[in-house]
Structures are given as C-alpha cells and as structure tokens.
C-alpha cells in the first residue's frame, strides 16, 4: 500500500504542482502551437502591413503595440476558455474540489499558468524588437515598458476570460463571451460608444468611461511612461476577474 505519511505542511508543493500541470496542459494539444503561431503572425503582420512599422522610418515599437489590445481581446479568451470549462466538461472539477487544495489556490494556479503561457506568446515577438534595434537606434527602456504594458493588458483580458470560463462547460461559449467582453473594452477606448453613452449618462461621464478602454491604458507604456494608474487598472481587472471566477466556482 502507498505511503500514508503526509508531510505536516505541504507548503507550496500543491500549488506549484497545479501551476506546472496547467502550464504543461497547454502544450499537450496542438492548439497551443497553433495559438503561438497565430499570435505571432498577427502581431508581426499587423505591425508591419497595417501599422506601417517599416515605412514610418521611426525606430520605435508603438505601432507594434497599437494592435495588442485587439490581439489579447481575441487570444486571451482563447487561452483562458479551458480554465474551468474544461474541468466541468471532463468532470474533473469534482476531483479537483475534493482534493486538499483550496479553490483559491487552484484558481490562482490556473490563472498564473495561463498568464505565463500568454507571456510565452509575447516573448516570441522579441525578434520584432531586435529588428527595430538592428535597423535603427530605439529607446530600449520604452520597448521594455511597452512589453510590460502588453503583458499586463493580457492579464486583464485573461481575468475576463476566467469569468466566462467559470460560467459554462463549453469552451466555445466561454471563448465567445470572453471575447465579446474584451472587445467592448477595446471599443470603449476608441470612443465608439461616445454618442450612445452621452445620451445615457451625459457627456461628463463619457471621458471617465473611455478611461476604461484597453488602449487608453496601454498607450502610456508604449511611450515609455510607466504610471500607477494604468498598472492599477490592468491589475484590478485581472484580479477582479480571478476573484469573481473563483467565487462562481465555489458557489456553483
């Protein structure tokens, strides 16, 4: 029979096991490689062909980061759809919730693993930065700030995706609802709803609402401005999403 000894305090071991499994889980299916390829293809082609990164003749990546809210709005829900929906579909949620790990530990482990996976996707675009560095003389501090902002933006989209995933057992539904919610946050920043909102809440509130847009908060990073407000914004959306999804799973 197996060892009945349990370490008196398992400490972080169950949590790290959780992160490891979830992260490795992405690479067990071909989907992860498709995801990484799609992200890269779009990130690079949007920057060069739509944003005119090369033609601009400026050694900066702001035209590259300009499209990141769109990319994350689409791809963070794609990566986050499996977080809870897959557990429900397979029935493994019943195992997970009867193993000696709290829902919060499980949720945080899943979230960090997914964020790490998105970070890998982002890291694969470093050649774009190197190209700019080869062609010109960019401000590397600004580029690093841009990458930091993009990663935070990914976390915010993932928080929204986590809520969508906690609500359903279908990954497709989780993806579509997550994408729509993120999409609205992208559009808000561009003022698409300005007239509609002005009618509803008056023009004074419109600018406040526009501050909630993803690009509004990412833009300062791409200019090299690392400010507290956008950091707080991205982290609050990420952790609110994480918290809410956990409560949904707990209360099911």
């Amino acid at each position: 029979m197996s060892s009945s000894e349990k370490s008196p305090s398992p400490g972080l071991k169950p949590f790290t096991a959780m992160v490891r499994r979830e992260f490795a889980g992405y690479f067990r299916t071909p989907l992860a490689y498709v995801f990484l390829a799609v992200f890269n293809a779009f990130a690079v082609s949007l920057a060069f062909f739509v944003g005119g990164l090369y033609e601009s003749g400026i050694a900066s990546l702001d035209r590259f980061f300009l499209y990141h809210p769109w990319l994350w709005a689409f791809l963070a829900p794609a990566a986050g759809a499996r977080l809870w929906a897959e557990e429900r579909r397979q029935g493994t949620i019943e195992l997970l919730l009867t193993w000696p790990i709290t829902v919060w530990q499980a949720a945080l482990g899943k979230f960090l693993a997914a964020w790490l996976f998105l970070a890998c996707a982002l890291l694969m675009t470093v050649p774009v930065a190197l190209t700019v560095g080869w062609l010109g003389d960019p401000d590397w501090g600004v580029i690093i700030a841009g990458y930091t902002g993009s990663l935070l933006c990914a976390g915010a989209c993932l928080g929204i995706a986590a809520i969508a995933s906690a609500l359903t057992r279908s990954q497709v539904i989780a993806f579509v609802t997550g994408f729509l919610a993120c999409f609205i946050l992208v559009l808000v920043g561009y003022g698409v709803f300005d007239e509609l909102l002005a009618g509803l809440i008056g023009s004074a509130g419109v600018d406040e609402i526009r501050r909630l847009g993803l690009w509004r908060n990412l833009e300062p990073f791409t200019l090299g401005l690392v400010d507290v407000r956008p950091i707080a914004y991205f982290l609050s959306v990420a952790f609110a999403g994480l918290g809410l999804s956990t409560i949904i799973v707990e209360r099911r």
């Binding site: 029979m1 197996s2 060892s3 009945s4 000894e5 349990k6 370490s7 305090s9 398992p10 400490g11 071991k13 169950p14 790290t16 096991a17 959780m18 499994r21 889980g25 067990r28 299916t29 397979q90 029935g91 493994t92 019943e94 195992l95 919730l97 009867t98 193993w99 000696p100 790990i101 709290t102």
Partner: protein, 234 residues
C-alpha cells in the same frame, strides 16, 4: 470516533428535494454498500460527504473534520472516486497519479505512484494517455487516485459500473485487501455486490434512508434480493 459522520444532511435542487435529513456513521473496518434506485440521492449524499456540494442543512464530518469548515484537513483523510471516474484524459496514467500525489503533498510522491500502479495493476498502461484506455482501466485509474495517499476514508461512487465480471472481481479484491483499515462507502445498484463486499447496507430512496443494517440482517430479508430492494425503495 466514527470516521464518517452524516448528520441530518439535506439538499434541494430548486423545488426538487434530492436528499432529506440523511444521518448515519461509518466506523473503521466497515464497508457500507450504499444502495438505491437511480435518482434516489446516493450521489448527492456522497457529494455532500466529500465537500463537493454544500449541504443546505446538516453537517458532514470526515475523520473528525467538518468538510465545510475544515475542508483541507477533511480532504487529506479522504479518497473519493466520483461516478464515471473522471480524469484528465490528455495526461498519461503515471503523470495523472503523480499530479494527484503532488497535489496531496505526499512526502515521497514517486514511491506512492509506484506502489499505487502496482496495487491497481496499472503498470502496463502507465505510459498511456488516459483517453486511450478501455473503461475497465479508466475506472481503475479513478480508483488509484482515490487510494494513492492510503486514506482512512474511501468513498466510491459506482466503482464497478460498466465493468466486465473479471474487472469487477479485480476491483472487489483490491477493496477487500484494504477494507479492514478504512471506513468505506461504495454506492452500487448491483445487489450481488452486497454479499461479496459489504459489511453493512444502507438503502436510500427518494432522498431518505429506508434501511440501515448489517449485511447478514439484510440478506436475511429474503432470498430474492431484487424483491427486497423493490419493496424497500417503493
């Protein structure tokens, strides 16, 4: 101290009363056969005992720990295999058991996995992904994750469902081997299992306990167990 205690457990799904005021205790060395028709409330009761479902009323206690208030401690003493033995299909058997061992914080996870693979006769499929396994093996994997930490309390929801006679025999053999040191609840609707496996029988129907007695007393109710079952659950 009983290892499993259900005190007045009740659960409703909307207007439907799934389980109503179910109480019983299970001591070490007992194997309780949990019988009842489909939809009687067996799985719901088990889910409340394991802490997967929150009871509307009542308390579930595992090895002295309240599953609602001291969830992590209670779960450390608990092995549970849900109905249909769900598992992460994309993992290999070995990876899955290793994950279960790590998540439980076992001191020597590699050794626990080795012993469990041997106990459940899973060595020959250890490197296969769970999705590719036959039903018999899948059920055994579900069983294996439930016993990997040698828990004092074992709760198995239809562990022999859909198995062929040889596989059923195998699961019962493993259960008997370890039963003396544990408190076990096994749900089933196969009445023959009662005589071979259980020391005690609890019959549940329409969310209520209809009978809770020793195996011998239950078997003495009549030679036709199906008739006894029909009468008790009517």
């Amino acid at each position: 101290m009983p290892l499993i205690e259900a005190k007045n457990l009740s659960k409703s799904y909307g207007a439907i009363r799934a389980v109503h005021a179910v109480s019983f205790t299970v001591d070490r060395g007992e194997v309780v056969g949990f019988l009842g028709p489909n939809g009687a409330g067996k799985s719901t009761t088990m889910k409340m005992l394991t802490g997967h479902l929150r009871a509307d009323e009542g308390v579930a206690v595992i090895a002295g720990f309240d599953v609602a208030d001291q969830a992590v401690q209670a779960k450390q003493h608990l092995g549970y295999s849900p109905e249909g033995a769900p598992a992460y299909g994309e993992m290999t058997v070995r990876e899955f058991l290793r994950f279960a061992a790590d998540l439980r914080g076992l001191t020597d996870p590699a050794e626990s996995v080795r012993k469990t693979l041997e106990l459940c006769r899973l060595n020959e499929v250890a490197a296969q992904t769970i999705d590719t396994l036959s039903k018999g093996y899948r059920m055994r994997v579900g069983f294996a994750q439930a016993v990997i930490h040698d828990p004092e309390v074992l709760i198995l929801d239809e562990p022999t469902d859909g198995l062929d006679p040889n596989q059923k025999f195998e699961v019962r053999r493993i259960l008997k081997e370890m039963a003396a040191r544990k408190a076990v609840i096994v749900s089933t609707h196969i009445l023959e299992e009662v005589g071979e496996l259980c020391t005690r029988v609890i019959v549940i129907a329409k969310g209520e306990v209809r009978c809770d007695e020793s195996r011998d007393k239950f078997l003495a109710r009549g030679t036709d167990l199906n008739a006894v079952f029909r009468q008790l659950t009517a």
